[in-house]
């Protein structure tokens, strides 16, 4: 069906809604990355199998929906029953028959699958009452987990493409740019450049051709916000890009997706085909005379290709190395033509801004960082997963209210924001509002939205070493400060971890970091020393403990720790069984002993001991 105008779209939207409402109940099975890895596809099949043989009023096979990520990955696989919003967590294949029988047929709850805060707490039945969800606000993730990403009808029923129709028929391109500027939205990819200003500068350059590029090369370890949007709601990205194309006058767009996201590639391709078929892409979009089309471009797995200029080179078929940006991409980008490059989350947010208005969006968040931001919450926090919160929320609220606090109720030590080139913030920064400027001021950055929580068993020097290692591996190797400088910084950091560094080495690291920051060619190099700089700023005493006392306070750096068994030992033999080098000896019910010469300090005994009998010294 070709939608040739706003009236036909409205009519189609009504039809899509009616079709959806025909089913009394909906079963949403999460097929996001986490749940899928735990076998949620089998749960989906099982629902179909069980329901096929049953005849239930108002429930058909269409009631079973595969959706994108629901966010609460720690409790996956997740199944949600609508319209009640019943939330079942850690569902297994053989729970399905029971869910169908009790919840779908009789309207009863399967209590053991409900969410509980703690083991002995009362179960919470509904989605909206669970603390993890209660404190969130979803804009870019509005449809993720709610709709079947393969069905354009689901997207349209939820108001999809209405913003595009509104822009194409009711606004001039300059008015669209004005609205985006007024909303105050800043690039969600990490830099935080005002999106409206970017679009306006691109539109102001005289040129026959210009391009729109969506950056889906999400490379930060532990970050999966963009992945979930591309997999779970691909049409929102397309709609944002089409609106941008209309605003700046582009005819051609690219979505650059990393090869490691095969499902995102498939779902985007399907979405593009469906959008073309219905007249949202291609010639004469929505009968307005405006032409625009999108191609998907797959990246080869290089972190640096998430950097805009390297990405554009990669799209053009060249080696993905950054160039100096003294001449900006909005002037000379892809194929030397004016180009707007925005991140997945930014584009997914645009339709909502057009739909609900710039003022509405600007009223959310803080004055200089408006709207909401998606984060992937990971590390030693209880509720790991995908979240979206209004800007300006404190780190504490994210970690303790949404995240539920630290695993095993251990002590919080640091939170890393902004991915590998971001920084680690200590406990006294927990009240910091999460917005672009506050995070940068504190020595970290917003980045694309990875958030890794660390507990007291983390060594901050080891953390810095780990992330520096990642950056050394991922440096493209073009410019000297990044290629040679980060390599040497990592080498010095390893020396600290091994207890071989001196205070002169620490001074050298600080001097070197400053040069890498100022002299590197691209953002990767310029932010490369951040893992070291932020940890040395907030956890200097830990560095000094490694250097002066040859101790690792976190109990992580193998060269500086020893494991010992104290008199809490019950003689259970568990550590003897788990030791890979047979360094532990002892008899049943007698205190075991570790042979320090044989011990490789792997920590297996420490992890397995149930009686706190293994100590790190």
């Amino acid at each position: 069906m070709f939608i040739d105008g706003i009236e036909k779209l409205n009519q189609w939207q009504n039809e899509c809604r009616k079709a959806l409402d025909a089913n009394k109940k909906k079963v949403l099975v999460c097929l996001g990355p986490g749940c899928l890895a735990s076998g949620s596809d089998q749960i989906l099949d099982e629902f179909k199998k069980v329901l096929k043989d049953k005849k239930l009023g108002g429930i058909t096979l269409d009631s079973i929906k595969k959706t994108g990520c629901h966010g609460f990955c720690a409790r996956g696989p997740l199944v949600v029953i609508e319209p009640e919003g019943i939330f079942y967590s850690k569902v297994k294949k053989n729970d399905v028959a029971e869910i169908v029988e009790k919840t779908l047929e009789k309207g009863e709850l399967v209590e053991r699958l409900l969410y509980r805060d703690g083991k002995d707490d009362k179960p919470i039945a509904e989605y909206k009452d669970i603390p993890f969800y209660k404190n969130q606000m979803k804009i870019s993730l509005r449809n993720v987990g709610q709709i079947d990403p393969d069905k354009i009808t689901d997207y349209v029923a939820n108001g999809g493409y209405a913003a595009l129709a509104k822009a194409l028929t009711g606004s001039k391109p300059a008015e669209v740019i004005d609205a985006v500027s007024k909303s105050g939205i800043r690039g969600r990819g990490g830099g935080g450049f005002p999106t409206g200003r970017k679009w306006a500068s691109c539109a102001s350059i005289e040129s026959d051709d210009r391009y729109v590029i969506c950056n889906g090369d999400e490379g930060d370890p532990g970050a999966f916000m963009d992945r979930c949007i591309m997999e779970g709601d691909p049409h929102s990205v397309l709609e944002g890009m089409i609106i941008c194309a209309y605003a700046i006058g582009s005819k051609e767009g690219y979505i650059y997706v990393r090869e490691e996201y095969p499902l995102a590639v498939i779902n985007l391709q399907k979405a593009i085909e469906a959008a073309r078929e219905h007249g949202f892409l291609g010639k004469n979009i929505l009968g307005s005379g405006f032409d625009f089309d999108i191609k998907v471009n797959r990246g080869g797995g290089a972190f640096v290709c998430g950097e805009s200029s390297a990405l554009m080179k990669s799209v053009a078929g060249e080696v993905g190395e950054p160039r100096a940006k003294y001449i900006r991409s909005v002037q000379k980008g892809l194929h030397d033509m004016p180009t707007v490059l925005n991140n997945v989350e930014t584009f997914a947010t645009i339709p909502v801004i057009m739909d609900k208005g710039a003022d509405w969006f600007a009223s959310i968040g803080t004055k200089k960082s408006t709207g909401t931001k998606a984060f992937s919450l990971a590390g030693k926090v209880k509720n790991t997963g995908l979240i979206e919160v209004p800007m300006g929320i404190s780190l504490k609220e994210i970690i303790y209210e949404i995240g539920g606090g630290i695993q095993n109720d251990r002590e919080f030590k640091a939170v890393q924001t902004g991915g590998p080139s971001g920084g680690c913030l200590p406990a006294d920064k927990l009240d910091l509002p999460v917005d672009f400027d506050s995070l940068t001021e504190a020595g970290s950055m917003m980045g694309s939205g990875g958030m890794i929580v660390m507990d007291d068993r983390t060594c901050m020097v080891d953390v810095a070493r780990y992330f520096l290692n990642f950056l050394v591996e991922e440096s493209c190797g073009k410019c000297v400060p990044c290629r040679e400088g980060l390599y040497q910084l990592h080498d010095l950091c390893t020396k600290v971890c091994e207890g071989k560094a001196t205070e002169d080495d620490l001074a050298l690291m600080e001097k070197l970091s400053k040069v890498i920051q100022t002299a590197s060619l691209c953002g990767l190099g310029q932010s490369g020393p951040n893992p070291f700089l932020s940890t040395v700023m907030y956890f200097r005493d830990e560095y000094l403990a490694h250097i002066r006392d040859k101790k690792c306070p976190g109990g992580v750096c193998r060269e500086l720790i020893t494991f010992d068994i104290n008199d809490k030992c019950t003689g259970c033999l568990a550590c003897i069984a788990v030791c890979p080098v047979d360094a532990i000896t002892g008899e049943k019910k007698k205190i075991h002993i570790i042979d320090q010469d044989l011990c490789t300090r792997c920590g297996s005994c420490y992890d397995i001991c149930n009686y706190d009998a293994v100590e790190i010294k």
């Binding site: 100096a324 050394v472 440096s475 493209c476 073009k478 040497q488 002299a519 060619l521």
Partner: protein, 258 residues
Amino acid sequence: MVHITINGKVVKAREGEMLLSVIKRQGIDIPALCHHEAIEPTGNCRLCTVEITKEDWNGWKKHVTSCLYPVEEGLIVSTHSSEVMEIRKTLLDLQLARCPNSEYIQKLAEEYGITETSYKTRPDADNCIMCYACTRICEVLGKSAISAVNRGHDKVIGPPFGEEPPDCIGCLACAQICPTDVIEWSDDGEVRTIWNKKFDLIACKKCGKTIITREFADYLIEQRNLPPEYFDTCDDCKRTEVAQKMGGLVEAAKEVTL
């Protein structure tokens, strides 16, 4: 024309011209390892970094690589400020750790007061400073037979898959542009070897001296529309031939006037 200030002196420059060429025209010496007139600048070595500001920047300044920075009216440039010197020193210190045996780097580092690197030297050090001059000149020649492969600290310059580069024509441009003479090649009688690929050399039909590889000759004949027999004789023999012809003409002219 625009006016910029370099180290306190106001100078004229063409709009859009790169800052480095203006600085060099003033006779100011700043190192630029990856810069070469024949190729596009890329900003790999970062040594030509300078400090820039403008009157209306309210004291804010930034560091840019002058080889890539187009000049603009009112730019105020310092080429040897203390911060710039610190950057160059550290960069050379790092280069010296990478190429401890390169005399070229040793000499430059010494000019900046570094005789020994502060960092760990590369165990398998060669003299390649990764300036990409070789790959860029190969690209300019239209061949791109070699490129930078791998990434980060493991990056090396080489032919595809480490095999004989299929597109190489043995022109030696890469070896000749290399500032640290890393690229090995040899002319052994009638055979030239570079990147492990062997090329037959054309010998001058008159004097027998070797001129150029067959592949390079064919490429030039095709690209520049030269006569197919152009490389049959060497430049020396061509000159002799022309001189002889000219001599003959002079004799003939004398006879006519007499």
